[in-house]
Amino acid sequence: MRWLWIDCITEHEEGKRLVAIKNVSLAEDVLHDHVVQGKTIMPFSLMIEGMAQTAGILVGSTSRFKEKVILAKISKASLDFDVTAGETIRYDATIDRIDQAGASTSGTIDRRCASGEAWERVGRVELLFSHIDNNMAGTEFPAHNFVFSANFKMVLETAGLASLAEN
């Protein structure tokens, strides 16, 4: 099973934008390995992964998940604030360019503290995805779509977007 770093999709504009949230919990072991000034924090690398999953679903949805969408490059990542247990992360991803070979996306990461309502900007991430069956080298990959597995479809179903995954 693939490790999901988003909890649910909250907004979707087909072919353009996808928003997902992640509730950060002390129940996650990984937090206990990342302690700054006595506070457990969400590792930046996993926030980039969360954005990659959000943007990856957005890119995949444009082909009804027929393409194998692989994160190929972190073009730019700037994360300026820590996120700790009890807070919520919001990933807001937009497609900048997409074609047969792949897609580029940009997005913002925000946080909301447990007792607050306002979102604060944590940073921005730009990513590049490859549609690997159309890679420049012509390398062949297995026919089945190993990227968008059953648990990704579960996230789509929870958000009422299951039809996006139908062939």
Partner: protein
């Protein structure tokens, strides 16, 4: 747009895509051999050039792709005469002189894509 202006914008594109300093981006610098570009960087560069100059680039138009799919173009890991002729016809922005009588290994083809190649390509597209 003047060639100098195109060159300056290409410098910015490569600075962003490859994380290189603008002074490393000289006209004859090879994207792979000198600036460290990998295959996925080519897609990044295509997207950034499209955005910067506001035109679309078809797959395989700027960089050679899937050459090995055709045995008439590549044999024993080297570009054939037919393969070279095809590339020269399709990719007029690239200078193939150095491989006419030299090493035609397929792994070396990427080295031919220089900063000048990109400037030539944009110039041709804008003249379009």
């Amino acid at each position: 747009m003047s060639r100098d202006a195109i060159f300056e914008k290409i410098q910015e594109v490569l600075d962003d895509a490859l994380g290189v300093d603008e002074d490393e981006v000289t006209p004859n610098a090879s994207l792979t051999a000198d600036l460290g570009a990998e295959s996925i960087d080519f897609l990044d560069i295509v997207f950034r050039i499209e955005k910067t100059f506001d035109f679309k680039i078809s797959q395989g138009e700027l960089f050679p792709e899937n050459l090995t799919d055709n045995p008439d173009w590549v044999a024993d890991g080297k570009l054939t005469d037919a393969g070279l002729a095809m590339l020269k016809e399709r990719m007029t922005h690239v200078d193939f002189a150095s491989i006419e009588d030299g090493d035609r290994s397929i792994s070396k083809i990427g080295d031919l894509i220089t900063v000048n190649s990109l400037v030539n390509f944009v110039e041709i597209k804008l003249a379009g």
